[in-house]
């Protein structure tokens, strides 16, 4: 696993074709690389740099800014337990302690089987559902210790219905040729091709 595989490359090229300037595709391509390998490898960054025509250091500069783009291997499932104020008041610290004990790792660590990486995170904006956590950025609300144990069992068994780390959507978006703005930069193009498809939009437009 290193550079983008032929199938990833085909997707990458489709993503690049959506943007008037290739480097705009940088972040979607980093997600694609993470989907392929579970994390963003240096080789993938170098490959992306080639694809969008920037220096590898610039790809690194962007990639390292985003916490969600992992540059070292993580488990198949990232379990992020919130430790914000609401969650803390409703027992997230106990939940974290329990997770440490059951999984045998500290926050930031990955279990020996490579399945689960535990992280303690700041507020994930679901305070009404505290204590909450995310599994590969999918929410689990009002998590009790029992819920957590069941979750771990499901994750290990592969029955939790959560895609492996890096996969952002179960369905990949495809933009048909008829919906594209075209190869030219958008300015001076007049009305985009897709706008006329919905008559009410076209009327509401400027």
């Amino acid at each position: 696993m290193a550079r983008l595989s032929p199938s990833s490359l085909a997707v990458a090229q489709e993503i690049i074709s959506r943007y008037p300037v290739a480097r705009s595709a940088l972040i979607p391509l980093l997600h694609l690389a993470q989907e392929q390998d579970g994390h963003v490898t240096e080789e993938a960054m170098a490959h992306i740099a080639e694809l969008v025509g920037v220096a590898p250091a610039e790809v690194m500069g962007t990639c390292s800014f985003y916490e969600m783009l992992k540059r070292a291997p993580v488990g198949e499932y990232m379990v992020n337990i919130c430790n914000g104020i609401s969650c803390h008041l409703l027992g997230s610290s106990e939940l974290i302690h329990h997770a440490e004990a059951t999984l045998g790792v500290k926050p930031g660590g990955t279990t020996d089987d490579g399945k689960i990486t535990l992280e303690a995170v700041e507020c994930i904006a679901a305070c009404t559902e505290a204590p909450c956590l995310q599994v590969n950025y999918r929410y689990r609300n009002r998590v009790s210790i029992t819920d957590f144990d069941r979750l771990v069992d499901d994750l290990r068994a592969g029955t939790a219905g959560v895609a492996p780390h890096g996969k952002l959507a179960m369905v990949r978006q495809h933009i048909g040729d008829d919906r594209r703005a075209g190869a030219a930069p958008p300015d001076g193009q007049g009305q985009p091709a897709w706008l006329a498809r919905n008559p009410s939009d076209a009327e509401a437009g400027p």
């Binding site: 170098a46 220096a55 590898p56 390292s64």
Partner: protein, 847 residues
């Protein structure tokens, strides 16, 4: 500037100031004598407002407010207060923040004593920090390349180095990473900051985060003595030369508006190491007995006194002239010497000895008439907004680093359109409006079509290998912009082909100069880009066959100069190739080499070899023993850059001063003194006792330099431009068209790279290892045709000989062409170049 439309009235600290519209407040204030402290702002780069140090009170009619003066443009009636209590408090606070993570290791930091952070903390900062927590920690200096170390703990994240890499050099190989509370500057893992310009980041770093390996821990700023001088490269980059204990330790670029804008290439910046090399010649050497008596039959070079060496040389010259006449003496080289030294040698050769067999170039440049006979451009003209630059030269990134930076800036920021008329891609290709990459040897056909609009494509729909539609489009683009200056950068794009092709292309371009300059339009001018430091001074000082000092021909200037010199050569001589041929045939009794190495540098090595064997007595004036001077019979140790005073002429014809800061090693002398001393022993008294005396004579006798005083050069700031020339460009006649390249062959392009086998590079320890590996570069589509695999080591065969080299794919090389670096330490392209053919065709086969 007092014009209403071109000025904006602002008030700075109560003083009325006239500013230029669009100017930043920080720049306007500085011109008015008010220095606003700053770290990230740099006048040659875009403003980013990273450091917040330049925050001052700015009132644009809504009351004073703190604003970063590097991000606010002047506006009418703006009131700026840099001394208000509010400003003072803001500066104090910014400095306290900047110092949160900055280690207080000034006593062991190289920047201490010349550190903007240190200075401004003293001037504007708080006396104490309230921060008691742990500072950020990073691994202490990490190399970002082999020349520059980065200490991330000291970095204040001003974005100067990263901005330089991206905006100025175009090598964005260092960036901010881990942005957040752990922001750091770094390279991509295992991909070093391999830029030719990395040393500039050290110079502009406002703290001690970036340090240059050759200078680290060598001196304290207050121990340095310094002079402002001109680095002897063709661009004439202005530098400050800093020395301590009689040793040059550092060059810093000086922001000269006309030339280098403060930038230097790493090759030039760190070449000072060569000056201090142990291998420098310190005493005269003669071939003879251990007592130093000159004996041409002697086997070994032994140390001698100056008297012995000079009289040995004088006797040899006298004997040669008496025996076979003055043209049995020849002078090669001198292109790296200051103007004064070149003039003294020219007068010795032409006025005293009477030989016109004098050539500063080694048949690897352009004929003198193509340099001083064509209308000359300046760098500023080439970079004028909206203009056109035609690149008919080798890659400026490899050979003329600071010119590359100026051109790059003009293309990116000032809308200059670049039209490449080169045999392969260059460092500017990705910015070029038109890339007319022609087949080697066929530039003239493309140039003719470009300027004349007569497009007669061959059966392949191409002219000289360039698609006719591209040439036509470029021709339209040139015509459309002909109300703005058109500048041709003119050099030798390849040493594997005859110079006639380039001169022929220049002739085609110049043919339309009158047409394009009609109706008050600026027309075409030429900016020659040749190799070797002061080659343009050498041509102006008459170190070329048929020329006399002051851009005048022997025939035209001879009578006038005879009055000052006593005599001039009776007949024109020949250039480097002719001299070496004559030597090979035994017609040269004394061959004088002025800092040149024909064995290493002359494009036809076999001829150079035969010439050195066939020459009677070889006299060399040199910094080092090189393969050629090691074969000399008499060697004078010469003083190098920073060891002597003089003047330098750059590619524009701009004359600037060079100054001395250290003493030459041993008994080495400046070349003007060697020439004068030799002349005295030949019965001619030049009356020179200083380089200033030599200059006075140049200003008296050289027509183009007449009346130009050293005071005027100094006073002009950016130097004085010499514009007059009475030399006429002579378009070459009857160039035989090159034959078509056959289906199995590739046509060779050989051009210099920045790091090569050159004397200075090889004697500077920090630079010697930087030459890239020798590779034969082919277009990716040619591998199948010639039947080799990328990466394979192949046998390269031409009519001149054969070599082995790995092949690599390079899309910048057009199909049918192959590219090799000239003067590479490992691979000698001259083994392939056949002097009998105008272009070099080669075949490759697997071993």
């Amino acid at each position: 500037m007092s014009d209403q439309e071109t000025s904006v009235n602002i008030t700075v600290n109560g003083q009325p100031v006239q500013a230029v519209p669009g100017e930043w407040v920080i720049a306007a204030a500085e011109r008015a004598g008010v220095y606003i402290p700053r770290f990230c702002y740099h006048p040659r780069m875009s403003s980013v407002g990273m450091c917040r140090m330049c925050i001052v009170d700015i009132d644009t009619g809504r009351g004073p407010a703190l604003q970063p003066s590097c991000m606010v443009a002047v506006s009418e009636n703006m009131v700026v207060d840099t001394t208000s209590e509010q400003t003072r408090k803001a500066q104090d606070g910014v400095l306290e923040f900047l110092l949160l993570n900055h280690p207080l290791d000034c006593p062991v930091c190289d920047k201490g004593g010349e550190c903007p952070l240190q200075d401004q903390t003293m001037a504007y900062g708080p006396g104490e920090s309230r921060f008691v927590e742990e500072k950020r920690h990073f691994e202490k200096p990490i190399p970002v390349n082999s020349l520059v170390y980065l200490d991330r703990e000291r970095c204040i994240l001003c974005d100067r180095c990263t901005r330089f890499a991206d905006e100025v050099a175009g090598d964005p190989l260092i960036t901010f990473q881990d942005r957040g509370d752990q922001t750091q500057v770094n390279t991509f893992p295992d991909l070093p900051f391999s830029s030719y310009f990395s040393g500039n980041t050290v110079q502009i770093c406002p703290v001690g985060a970036l340090t240059a390996v050759p200078y680290r821990f060598k001196a304290r700023p207050w121990d340095l003595t310094e002079v402002e001088s001109t680095y002897p490269n063709p661009m004439g980059d202005r530098v400050v030369v800093q020395a301590s204990r009689d040793q040059v330790l550092r060059y810093q670029g000086v922001d000269s508006d006309a030339v280098n804008w403060g930038w230097l290439t790493d090759k030039d910046r760190f070449a000072f190491e060569a000056g201090a090399s142990d291998l420098r010649l310190k005493t005269p050497l003669v071939r003879g007995t251990p007592l130093g008596r000159f004996d041409p039959a002697g086997q070994e070079l032994v140390e001698a006194t100056w008297g012995q060496a000079l009289s040995g040389a004088a006797e040899a010259i006298k004997a040669a002239v008496a025996d076979k006449g003055p043209h049995s003496v020849a002078v090669l080289g001198g292109a790296r010497l200051p103007n004064e030294d070149q003039y003294a040698w020219a007068r010795l050769a032409k006025g005293v000895i009477g030989t016109d067999h004098v050539d500063a170039q080694l048949d690897d440049g352009l004929p003198a008439h193509a340099v001083i006979g064509l209308p000359r451009a300046t760098v500023s003209r080439a970079c004028a907004p909206g203009g056109t630059v035609v690149l008919l030269a080798p890659d400026p990134k490899e050979e003329q680093g600071t010119l590359y930076l100026r051109l790059r800036h003009a293309i990116v920021n000032d809308g200059v359109q670049l039209i490449e008329l080169t045999p392969r891609a260059t460092g500017l290709s990705h910015l070029a409006a038109f890339r007319l990459h022609h087949r080697p040897g066929e530039a003239a056909a493309v140039a003719a079509a470009l300027m004349g609009g007569h497009i007669e494509a061959g059966p392949d729909g191409a002219i000289g290998g360039v698609a006719a539609v591209d040439v036509a489009a470029a021709a339209v683009a040139i015509a459309d912009r002909s109300d703005k200056p058109i500048t041709v950068v003119l050099g030798r794009p390849s040493l594997a082909e005859s110079a006639d092709f380039t001169v022929g292309a220049a002739a085609e371009l110049s043919r339309f100069a009158n047409l394009l300059s009609a109706g008050g339009r600026p027309g075409i001018a030429f900016l020659p880009a040749l190799h070797r430091g002061n080659v343009f001074g050498a041509l102006d000082m008459g170190l070329a066959p048929g020329l006399l000092p002051g851009r005048i021909s022997l025939a035209e200037g001879g009578p006038a100069l005879t009055e000052s010199w006593g005599s001039v050569p009776a007949a024109p001589g020949v250039g480097a190739r002719g001299i070496l041929q004559a030597a090979a045939e035994g017609r040269i009794d004394v061959l004088i080499l002025l800092g040149v190495d024909p064995l290493g540098d002359f494009p036809d090595r076999r001829l150079a070899e035969e010439a050195l064997s066939g020459a009677g007595v070889i006299v060399a004036s040199e910094l080092f023993l090189n393969p050629s001077s090691a074969r000399a019979h008499i060697v004078f140790p010469a003083a190098g850059f920073a060891e002597r005073r003089g003047t330098h002429t750059n590619l524009e014809g701009r004359i600037t001063a060079q100054r001395q800061v250290v003493t030459p090693p041993g008994t080495a002398r400046a070349d003007w003194a060697i020439a004068a001393e030799l002349a005295r022993r030949l019965g001619a008294d030049f009356g020179f006792s200083s380089p200033e005396d030599v200059w006075d004579e140049i200003a008296r006798v050289a027509p183009s330099h007449r009346g130009l005083s050293l005071e005027a050069i100094e006073a002009a700031g950016d130097g004085a431009l010499v514009a007059d020339s009475s030399i006429a460009f002579a378009p070459p006649e009857g160039i035989t068209p090159v034959p078509a390249v056959d289906a199995y062959s590739l046509r060779l392009v050989a051009a210099r790279r920045m790091y090569d086998r050159g004397t200075l590079v090889q004697h500077a320890p920090s630079l010697a290892g930087l030459a890239p590996g020798a590779v034969l570069a082919l277009n990716p589509y040619d591998f199948d045709r010639v039947g080799v695999e990328p990466g394979a080591v192949v046998q390269v065969i031409s009519s001149g000989g054969e070599v082995q080299a790995p092949v690599q794919a390079d899309p910048g090389v057009p199909r049918g062409t192959a590219a090799l670096g000239y003067n590479h330490p490992d691979l000698d392209v001259r083994d392939l170049v056949d002097p009998g053919t105008a272009v070099t065709d080669l075949r490759v086969q697997t071993r």
